[in-house]
Amino acid sequence: MKLSRINELKDIARNIRLGALEGVYNAKSGHPGGSLSIADILAYLYFEEMNVDPKNPKWEDRDRFVLSKGHTAPALYAALAEKGFFDKSQLKTLRKVDSFLQGHPDMKNTPGVDMSTGSLGMGISAACGMALSAKVDGKNYRVYTIVGDGESEEGQVWEASMFASHYKLDNLCVIIDFNGLQIDGPVTEVMNPTPFDKKLEAFGYNVITIDGHDFEQIEAAFEAAKACKGKPTAIISKSVKGKGVSFMENNVSWHGSAPNAEQFEQAKAELNA
């Protein structure tokens, strides 16, 4: 990837982070930590990888994206707004009573949202259903889903993984956002879901581990996923919870709390620096 393109994607990822924080700040609630950890992956998916049309969000041959870790909707909304599915001015309506930007993704009312999610473990299964449907109909679209590392403690994630490899869903790409923290603390202390690589391999995935904030590694992983036939791909994206905002990085207290005005200003200043 050209350095100029990497810099463009970094700008997009910064805007996604700013948009996510703007939403959470105005809502006075939400999940900033895990939104910031997936911003680079979302930037790559929506601006490099996926075949989608903001003017025709329900286009039937589009690639699909399912945010299985639905609580990080602020980042998804910011990515969709950045892509042009709706106006960026909507982001500050997050979680407000008349807004179409619900606390967790709502496919019925938000342009560009392909699946309603929020209850953990279900999104990856829905993504399997979409990938299976493409196979049945001989369609070429691909399906992407981001699963949280803590989310993988849900048994349904592994039920879905069995399903994905049993039906050879090579049009499915599961991204594990391995930021190491969940609400109650480090994932390895709450209920250790690791090692991800060995477990995912045992469940039949083509497994790729990357730095989830390095666009060259992200690009290489998605290219390898497309080249892999006969099995689904799992990308273990090692990431930093709260990435880009010094006081939020690797700090579990930012899993689900909003910055005050002063903190929001500092976060913006750091991201814009």
Binding site: E60, D106, S125, V136
Partner: protein, 315 residues
């Protein structure tokens, strides 16, 4: 009572899927129970459109939601206990909330599971499914109605929970003019003293009870409610107004099912006595089906006794 041929509604479900697979484009999921739910009949004819999900009902429901989200018609099948029970939250959040038109085919509902006993006898599914906004619930009264219901829901753009039984029951909807309409109650027999509002296998028992009541001078109306949600308010209010007393009959807990749904309508629109026949807030147990129906009071005789009680409560 005419001696009708007997057939389980689950048999009709599997046969209908196989028959209608030629005419309509849909896929079928099951969770390792295809031989019992009878989706195996479809699988045999259309192996490329059948997907076993293994013993993982929660995943199956969310997979079905994903398939429906791409615009494809899909049936997801298991026993009522593991569909409505085990996978409740997947149905609620993956199917109900986004209002995806998944068709849930839940077999082995009610006490007539028989010898397998309480863990497999789902007496709560209608109640559970009724609480999900926008969920349509259909409980066919016989094999003919089950087949008609399957065809009616294939391209119906709503989530639907369909309830089928394991046990062979009388196939009485044999009139040539039989017609199935989602959400419409069926007036099977007129009567002026009391109305028996029944669903599922209790409908044919209600017709038997009507004959016994007639011999004792009580004229009972019989209504078949195959669609429990949305319920046909008009036919229930009409029955309440014209007969002044109602008995409900269902193979389900009297809490939250047909009896509750009817009592809600009657209580709000036209208060008259509503007595409920069903299982009385208890679990099932092992036994032969006839023995269980007798033990839990799901018989024409029980309906007769309840109908008399309802008549005595009329003002």
């Amino acid at each position: 009572m005419i001696n009708y041929e007997k057939k389980a509604t689950r048999e009709a479900y599997g046969e209908a899927l196989a028959e209608l697979g030629d005419k309509y484009d849909f896929v079928v999921l099951d969770a390792d129970l295809a031989a019992a739910t009878k989706t195996g009949v479809f699988k045999k004819k259309f192996p490329d459109r059948f997907f076993n999900c293994g013993i993982a009902e929660g995943n199956m429901m969310s997979v079905a939601a994903g398939i429906a989200a791409t615009g494809k018609a899909v049936f997801a099948s298991s026993f009522a206990m593991f569909a409505a029970g085990r996978a409740f939250e997947q149905i609620r959040n993956s199917i109900g909330y986004p209002h995806l038109p998944v068709k849930i085919g839940a077999t082995h509902a009610g006490i007539t599971v028989g010898e397998d006993g309480a863990t497999h006898q789902c007496l709560e599914d209608i109640a559970i499914m009724r609480t999900i906004p926008g969920m349509t619930i259909i409980n066919p009264a016989d094999a003919i109605e089950a087949r008609a219901a399957v065809e009616a829901v294939i391209n119906y753009n709503e989530p639907v929970y369909m309830r089928f039984g394991r046990f062979a029951t009388p196939v009485f909807n044999v009139n040539a003019d039989y017609k199935f309409e989602i959400g419409k109650g069926v007036n099977l027999a007129e009567g002026k003293d009391v109305t028996i509002v029944a669903t599922g296998l209790m409908v044919s028992m209600a017709l038997e009870a009507r004959e016994i009541l007639a011999s004792e001078g009580i004229d009972a109306r019989v209504i078949n409610i195959h669609t429990i949600k949305p319920i046909d308010r008009d036919i229930i209010i009409d029955a309440a107004k014209k007969t002044g007393a109602i008995v409900t009959a269902e193979e389900h807990n009297i809490i939250g099912g047909l009896g509750s749904a009817v009592a809600e309508v009657v209580g709000e629109a036209c208060p008259v006595p509503v007595l409920r026949v069903g299982t009385n807030d208890c679990f099932g147990r092992s036994g032969t089906v006839p023995a269980l129906l007798e033990a839990y009071g799901l018989t024409p005789a029980a309906l007769v006794a309840k109908a008399k009680e309802a008549v005595s409560l009329k003002k």
